[in-house]
Amino acid sequence: MSYAVLGRLLAGALLLAASLSTHAALRVFACEPEWAALVEELAADRVEVFAASSAHQDVHHIQARPSLIARVRRADLVVCNGAGLESGWLPLLLRRSGNPRVQPGKRGYFEAADYADMLEIPQRLDRAEGDVHAQGNPHIHLSPDNIERVAAALAARLNELDKDPAADYDARLKDFRHRWQTARSRWKQRSEPLRDMPVVVHHNSWVYLNQWLGLRQLATLEPKPGIPPTSRHLSALLKQLEITPAKAVIRAPYQDQRASEWLHKQTGVTIIELPYTIGGNARATDLFGLFDSTIDQLLEVQQ
């Protein structure tokens, strides 16, 4: 009797879940919000995009939660950053999902870092250097150049997976590139005063931004990548900043605030919480807003 009731409830739940799913041409599982936003730029109404993480989460430290396994199970395309950023959880999700379409090497698996210009490829792989990534610094999305490269590759992949002529990903890519290049010339003009601005960052996740804008990174609050700030490292940093002062200390919304607050109290250096990715602040609702907001916030301190 109770088994029958349970069975009926279960069947009902399954039906409900099935009926709630929309009828998009593709289901895309994006590991990070920046790649979810790029998919949206290129595919808008054609796909259903799910972002596995948010701007308030440290992507190195996501757990293979049941909800994520369930999402990968039904995905047609997995779009992730790669370069080891998700090595703690993505392989596990893929293996648990029972979804052969999105396994590495298949057309349903896409790593952005494969198409990016990588910086900081380590000469020496040693965990004594902290959480280093063999393929280079994985935080590639804060370079508009990388975004453009990945966009082209991603559009090609979408074309392969969704052959419906109505999709026309080429036209969407062309439109996106046009808007992106217009924005880039605007950013180039506006960000001119930022060249050589001395900054301290929390984690080494801004190297691509630094290179693009010409920011001069003096130090990181973390003693080694991925190792939380220690008091010894911070006091050494304090001495260093007395000699070469920084204009700002940059952190992301997901990073611990205490170390940067402490530095602010000691030296008066301005804290900038940059959005880092989509959803990182109210303006960063898409890729354009992310870069607009980032530049404006930096300019506010520089001027």
Binding site: A13, A64, R71, R73, Q135, P228
Partner: protein
Amino acid sequence: MCMRTNSAVAVLALCISTPGHCASGDELAEIRRQMEELREAYESQIKALEERLERAEALAEENRSELAREDSKASSRPAGGRGALTVNDFNPAISFVLQGSVNSYSKDPEDYALPGFQLGGEAGLAAEGFTLDETELTASANVDHLFYAETTIGLHDDEEDTEVEVEEAFVDPLALPAGLGGRFGRFYSDVGYLNRFHTHAWDFHDAPLAYRAFLGKQYRDDGMRLTWTAPTDLYLMFGGETLAGRQFPAGSSESVKGDVQTLFAKLGGDVGSSHAWQAGVSALFADVNDREGGGHGHGDDDAGSAFSGDSNLFIADFIWKWAPNGNPRQRNFKFQSEFFYRDEDGDVVFAEDADQALLDYDGEQTGWYAQAVYQFMPRWRLGVRYDWLNPDNDLSIRDLGGFSDPDEVLEESGFGDQGNPERWSAMVDWSPSEFSRLRGQYNRDESTPGKTDNQWSLQYIMSLGAHGAHEF
């Protein structure tokens, strides 16, 4: 304009081909006018063409410079990224986990027992003093386009010798369709929650009492598994295993279909962005042949019991995790609890020296534990755990054999219950990075009711090599 130009060309052509007909002054004026028109029309057309050419040239130039830019970028990509492949690039991912501890007990760990439960597998206590708990070597890789394989070789000390043990060696098919998953080889069963985790991923140094009592610390065996994940946003997974039944809670087995069958279902999801949960129910049905109670803690080697019969175990588990905005880096909380019920029915042979007695045994046993672990700041965690067991065994003597005292036989068999074993534990651990952890733990252990054992341990866990998985 085009039409007019054409007609003018026609008139001109006519005049050239038939000169005799083009003589009158009016006609000449008309022709001059038309030629003038023609010249204007062509000039404007040529101008338009020239402009187009100019534009096309500019575009080509732009493309060329863009290409050059792309080229310079491609060459600026540091060579180390996707450099030359060597034969080593196909090596599997390899990791070592080193675990060791120093332990102190107020009672002799050799006498450790859970009255009412046979201690099998590795259910005993870690050695007193300094000890290497376990050294694990794990290698994993995709075998080819169809299979993934992983093996864990464990090294640990047993008395004087170092034992080498194949802890796990399994193969997962990669290409099963429709949410199906599989595994074959030797592996930790997916019953319950904690069972499938290697000890270095546990939140306490030792196993919950229920795991010692019902699963011999951890149940792994040789066999195969099939799972299916439902295509729903709510995580819903069903699975079953058939296993040889050579490990506790089974005994020895030679049957082809395997003496242990398991079934399990798990569901889970998120609540908002800060909460995640998972719940599961599992069943393990074992056909037990000669299950001997060994365990590391049994000091008296001359006496022992062997159980044969049916053993059916049911487990319900629940895990709830909290992290602000789903970011566990600074603070997080984990609650974990499992409930066990086991029904065993069969015979027990109790042997001491050359004498044997036969007992009827019917056990209905329950047990549970609950634990909470809180990371209150980066790197530091605190945890508490409570364990409780309730053996309710009916034990009677069918044949006393060579023994004279039935009460002594009942007591020494280890199946006699003496109340509820329970234990409180508290731990604190410090993890300087994802790859190292140091832990201190205290247990107030009443595995034998009424006898309190104060247990202290300091433990280290060091992971070398491939990045470990962030399991939920």
